[in-house]
Amino acid sequence: MSETQILVVDDESSTRRLLSYLLEKSGYAVVTAEDGIEALARIEQARPGVVITDLMMPNLNGYELCRRIRVRPEFNAIKIIVLTARDQSSDLEVLKASGADFVMKKPINPQELSRTVRELLEKQ
């Protein structure tokens, strides 16, 4: 099976579970990680097409995870969506600071997430 892999990174298990369900329903294969450290290990194994990550996480936060993905030329093709809390700084600031491809506010809009993943994968 050559399904596109998507990595969901969030320290909250309910969010991981829900996002996995949403994405698997759309036909993607999903791997999950609880923090940035685990995420990096999963990326090495699974080479996901898209990484969806929370910003605030223990051990290695979302900004640092993005940075470490971006410094690796072999991960160039990976698209990154970061999830932010609604009251945090503007999307543009987060985009600049993280180097992500897309910023989405929590609570996530399921339709928008599916659409965004599809569009990012089409660009690859």
Binding site: Y21, N109, P110
Partner: protein, 516 residues
């Protein structure tokens, strides 16, 4: 339901454990016999010849709303007996059924949660757009367009119950729609939603309409309107998620519209309060600051404005030859409009009074002048106007529709009502007025008042009336003007005990000195 990675993980762990402990190999496949989870040593090539597989070693696992799964079992290396394999197979099938049931429940809850997220997200967007808008129409427009976009329909409408009548406030159409449906279609369904107070979901209700979704707009448990969507795109039917989304939007629309109405209402109340304050100032500035002193007249005056500014006016103006103009007037209506007419009336009367004419001629001219100001505005003033002469203590008066002042004749101990005159001022031009002259004898008391006195009501809705007024005058006629005034006010106060005053009350008392 779908076979998710988390379910596969759980099943894989479970089958491995069964295999390890039971010495059997297991493989779970879908309906088409494609393996989903297998233990490491299961011989997959046996699946390609499934027909030859021993039926006793296959179990079917039912999956909600999906094709069933198959569980194949075979002996492991240890070569377990067939009946042992069968009983382990049964156990495994039950276990898988349990995992799948759990997963189905989780997926159902996830679906529901995603619908809620969708709804929540929609509301976040709408709240961001609407928060600074205080225009009912604009709010409806934003929210209705959001509904059209997010639910993907051709036509939507917002209708409100306005004084018992259902009025379509707004109809929006998806620009790509073919325009098959009309406002009247919306009205019909909106009415149905309003009547039932609940959701309305229809599939092909009439020939050309494909689908209808309607939700009530409810505020504090009362239905104030309805949102209706007609024609979901691509001929699809409305889903429960659509119903939830539209319900959420309608709920917020109700709150936003109600808030807007309250804000506008309080702004109007504030404007009205300022108008009243301003009118009060005008009225106060038009009333005399002090009363004139006469050798042969003892005067008392009282003017109590009501909560809402009225148009009571009284005044004195010194004329030539020891004569004075005396006026008590009541402009119909309240507020700023009445205050302006009062100001206009006051200046007209002051200038006319100086002409030296009789009271009736002065009122006739004043009426013509005032009518120019009030034309078409349904504003008028009742006026008692008199010219008092200090020389002979005479009063030449004319009464324009004002409650007749009461003249207490001390000698005969009875009342004379001064009603000679004509129509209230400001209604019709070229009205004729009569006048009369009375001589104030020693001890006579003239009480000029506005209808706020006689029409003051008590808690039972009974008017104070002329009879009570006359009694007070009669009983206190020997007192000074001020003494009589105080007795009258005390009587009114007692009569109205604690009631809120509705109208202005103005009283002017002129008492002819006992000894000239």
């Amino acid at each position: 339901m779908i076979i998710t990675s988390s379910l596969t993980k759980q099943l894989s762990a479970f089958l491995s454990s069964m295999s390890r402990h039971g010495g059997i190999e297991l493989c779970l496949t879908d309906e088409a016999l494609r393996p989903l989870v297998c233990t490491p040593h299961f011989r997959l090539n046996t699946l390609s010849n499934a027909a030859g597989f021993d039926e006793a070693l296959v179990r079917t696992v039912a999956v909600q709303q999906a094709a069933s799964l198959r569980l194949f079992g075979e002996a492991g290396k240890a070569g377990s007996a067939k009946d042992q394999i069968e009983s382990l197979l049964n156990l495994s099938a039950d276990g898988i059924g349990y995992f799948i049931k759990n997963e189905a429940e989780v997926q159902m809850l996830s679906e529901e949660l995603l619908e809620r997220y969708q709804e929540l997200h929609l509301l976040y967007e709408v709240i961001e757009d609407v928060s600074a808008v205080f225009d009912e129409h604009k709010i409806c427009e934003i929210i209705l367009n959001k509904a059209l976009q997010s639910i993907n329909v051709e036509l939507g409408a917002v209708a409100f119950n306005e004084e018992g009548q259902l009025a379509v406030r707004l109809v929006e159409r998806d620009a790509r729609a073919r325009g098959e449906y009309s406002e009247s279609d919306c009205l019909l369904y909106a009415q149905e939603v309003m009547n039932s107070g609940s959701y309305l979901v229809l599939e092909r209700p009439e020939g050309k309409i494909s689908s209808v979704l309607g939700v009530p707009i409810t505020v504090n448990n009362s239905v104030i309107g309805a949102m209706v969507l007609i024609g979901k795109a691509h001929g699809e039917m409305f889903t429960s998620a659509d119903r939830i989304s539209l319900g959420a939007l309608a709920g917020y629309l109700g709150v936003a519209v109600t808030t807007t109405r309250l804000v506008l209402e309080s702004r109007r109340a504030e404007a009205l309060r300022r108008e009243i304050e301003f009118a009060e100032k005008i009225q106060q500035s038009l009333l005399p600051h002090e009363l004139p002193c006469f050798a042969s007249l003892d005067i008392a005056a009282h003017c109590l404005p009501s909560a809402q500014v009225g148009g009571d006016l009284f005044g004195f103006l010194r004329l030539e030859n020891q004569r004075w103009a005396v006026t008590v007037a009541d402009v119909a209506g309240h507020g700023l409009g009445a205050a302006f007419i009062m100001a206009s009336l006051r200046s007209i009367l002051r200038s006319e009074a100086k002409s030296g004419m009789t009271a009736s001629e002065i009122l006739k001219n004043s009426n013509n002048l005032l009518s120019e100001d009030t034309r078409g505005n349904d504003v008028y003033a009742t006026v008692f106007f008199a010219v008092y002469s200090e020389r002979d203590n005479s009063l030449n008066f004319s009464n324009a529709g004002h409650p007749p002042p009461l003249l207490w004749k001390a000698a005969s101990r009875d009342f004379c009502e001064l009603h000679k005159g004509g129509m209230a001022l400001g209604l019709f031009e070229d009205e004729e007025y009569e006048n009369q002259t009375v001589i104030l004898q020693a001890g006579d008391v003239l009480v000029i008042y506005t209808d706020g006195i006689t029409e003051a009501k008590n808690a039972n809705g009974v008017f104070y009336g002329e009879a009570r007024l006359k009694d007070v005058i009669k009983d206190n006629a020997r007192q000074s003007s001020q003494g009589l005034m105080e007795a009258l006010l005390a009587s009114l106060e007692q009569f109205q005990a604690g009631m809120h005053r509705r109208d202005d009350m103005t009283v002017l008392i002129l008492k002819s000195s006992e000894i000239l």
